[in-house]
Amino acid sequence: MRQAALAAVVLVGLTVFGLSGGEFNSFVISLGLVYVVAALGLHLLVSDAGELSLAQGMFLAIAAFVSVHLVRAMGGAAFPLAVLAATTLAALVSGLVALPLLRMSGPAVAVTTYLFAVAGDAFLLHQEWFVLEAGALAMPRVELLGLDLSSPEGQLLTIAASVAIAALAVIAVRRARFGRALLAVRENPAVAEAVGIDVRLVRIGAYMVAGAFAGFAGALWALLLGGASVSSFPPALSLLLLSVVVIGGRGSQWGVAIAAFAFAVVPEWFSGLGTLVEYLAPIGLIATLAFYNGGLNQQLRDLARRLPLPPPQPASAAAVAAPAEPAGAPAAAAGEPAVAVESATVTFGGVRAVDDAAISVRGGEIVGLIGPNGAGKTTLLNLISGRQRRGEGSVSLFGREVARTTAHRRARLGLRRSFQHGGLAMDETPVTNAMIALHAAPAPRRYEHLRARAEGALDALEVPAAVRATPVRELPSGQRRLVEIACMLATDAPVLLLDEPTTGLSGEEVDRLIGVLRERRDRHGAATVVVAHDLRFLMEVADRVVVMSEGAVIAEGSPQRIQSDEQVRRLYFGQAALA
């Protein structure tokens, strides 16, 4: 809220300054604010979703021309409609362009979006029906409710109001489930799938949001410049916008807004300095990346730390009454298999990673899965969770065949897993991570509600309140592991798969983990599979142990039986079993 108030003050201040400082001032400030709108959308795409686009300027261009066409056809009063139409169109085109990008690698995405910008510039912006003969399209005077929006004052006021709308939209996206889904997809698509996020849909959504902002900015651009002209939108504009977003840095809107504003305003105000100004953008970009990768946002954070301001109060969990535990997905009645894998085979380039393996886990049971490296344990886990779908055999959850079902759908059926490495969004706080984990939780899904549940899950594993607003990356590894497990348990998922959950935990933390897993088993009837090399932990927590070697299940039984099994001993100690 303090941030929003500060933003409002800054925006009003700029507007007043622009209105009082003459026409040129007003124009320059308006231009800077249009850049801010365009950059905020790309910021969501790059910073939150971790995607890349070198085509943002082209969406600006398309939207600018379309809005001018619409206003010419329908008159000045239709301007709001034109803005809406241009925004929608840019979002749709951006989503359409994103479709083929989903399967491409990062470099290919960059090249393809760049080629889109180049092709749009060379082809579309040279079509007479679109840009008319002179390559420029004048905007008729826009009058709305008796206000002249085409006057310098009208332009500035309209654009300032639009920036406020754009900033609120960014806040809304970030508070929504979609916003957290973006973070999860950026950090690790596998983790996102595992909590029930449809990764493809979210990525397309990210491009559509960025397109919408660009479209919005394009329409404003047309208003400000009294029309659209081809020369305003070279491919270099796309590159400039991307630079702005990178220099602004990940996270807050402030860095990006300042960078965007500065990029537009500085060359106009300081044109006396000549080419010197032009060096700022590339040098700023290179220096940010190579020497100071936090960007302007990092600078701002460092500055805020040095100012004697009270730290922002983390929203207290107690402020929102914790909702009654909603009934979880139907837990399997004890005794009935919750997970069953039969005659599963997975082959990687001729090697049988899993070779005709079978495993079944009942509700209210913890099964330990052990075996040497390359035995196929993680592959089997991936087969159950849906991360690995290419394979033979059957996988069922609560008696329902899911071998061809995607990971995010299995997650929605009540399956949760942890990862051996990197099962968290590292740049986000424990609270945000737990809220991401609640993506597929049953309604109510209001922000405050989810937040309270997230805090509750962290309470259960005694994650200290002091670290809950710290990015996970900065936590010691033991706490990080606890946060990941808390995220897993944030929902009442009846099927839990854990891959090496004890890595980095202290003895006392391992005991806490054992307690939590047993409670899930006894009170919720959870079916749990644990893969661990830490056999001391595994033998203590597991009701039953399954041993794999070279992709096959070679032994199964109680921990005590397995520890004295001759075959298992040979597997671990080598050919000459210890006498």
């Binding site: 004890t502 001391r536 004295s564 210890l578």
Partner: protein, 242 residues
């Protein structure tokens, strides 16, 4: 015991943000063969990578002889004689022939190369073959031979038996025995206790990224440390068939 050739203390680090190893100290004397025993995932490979300088994030000290190497890159360490032989498939360049590998490591050392081909007839017989088409055992032997080409003072060998057929394990074992007879100091990460029984002067058990115990292999077996490390059996408790 002679002064340590390789010594490390307070080693910690890992690949991402998690510490895969923590506060590890160890040493290897001249001519000594030391094993790191422990199940997979215990941190043995990470430990070797910390020593050879190929771990992305690492703290602590590493010294060879009396020269501190912790701030040196992997090439410098290799040039000083601390040579890392990773598991065959991860060291080798799949599309390269054996000869191309030899060229890459020691283009001009013809004498060294001819001495090496005597110990590894495979190198001569298969010199035109792409290593990607070789069996795991053959790749392991090529990787070992390449390690020797660098004239090591101390070899760090990762899982020499991993994924090999029993016949190939015998062959690798014979090579390692030959090296030991030549007085090459070695630190070998291995799961299989039988190889350690055959080769090691001394061993450490590694569990959850830390060194748990140290001693001769016989001592570790008799003390129950291996049962503890591998099977999660509480140490010093009699196990029925041990």
């Amino acid at each position: 015991m002679s002064a340590p050739l390789l010594s490390a203390s307070g080693l910690g680090g890992g690949y991402g943000a998690d510490d895969a190893i923590r506060d590890v100290s160890l040493h290897v004397a001249e001519h000594e063969v030391v094993f790191l025993l422990g199940p997979n995932g215990a941190g043995k490979t990470t430990l070797l990578r910390a020593l050879s300088g190929t771990l992305p994030r690492c703290s602590g000290t590493v010294a060879l002889g009396c020269e501190a190497l912790e701030s040196r890159g992997p090439h410098i360490r290799a040039r000083r004689g601390l040579v890392h032989v990773a598991e065959g498939r991860s060291t080798l360049i799949p599309s390269f022939t054996v000869r191309e590998h030899l060229d890459l490591v020691a283009r001009n050392a013809t004498e060294l190369r001819s001495r090496l081909t005597e110990r590894f007839p495979l190198l001569r017989e298969r010199q035109g073959q792409q290593v990607g088409t070789m069996s795991g055992g053959q790749q392991q032997l090529v990787a070992l031979a390449l390690g020797l080409l660098a004239e090591p003072r101390c070899l760090l060998i990762d899982e020499p038996s991993a994924g090999l057929s029993p016949v190939m394990v015998e062959e690798v074992l014979a090579v390692l025995e030959g090296l030991r007879a030549d007085g090459v100091a070695m630190l070998i990460a291995e799961q299989r206790v039988d190889l350690a029984l055959a080769l090691a002067n001394r061993a450490y058990t590694v569990e959850a990224g830390r060194i748990q115990a140290e001693g001769t292999v016989d001592e570790l077996v008799a003390g129950g440390e291996l049962d503890a490390t591998y099977l999660g059996v509480a140490p010093r408790v009699e196990v029925a068939d041990a």
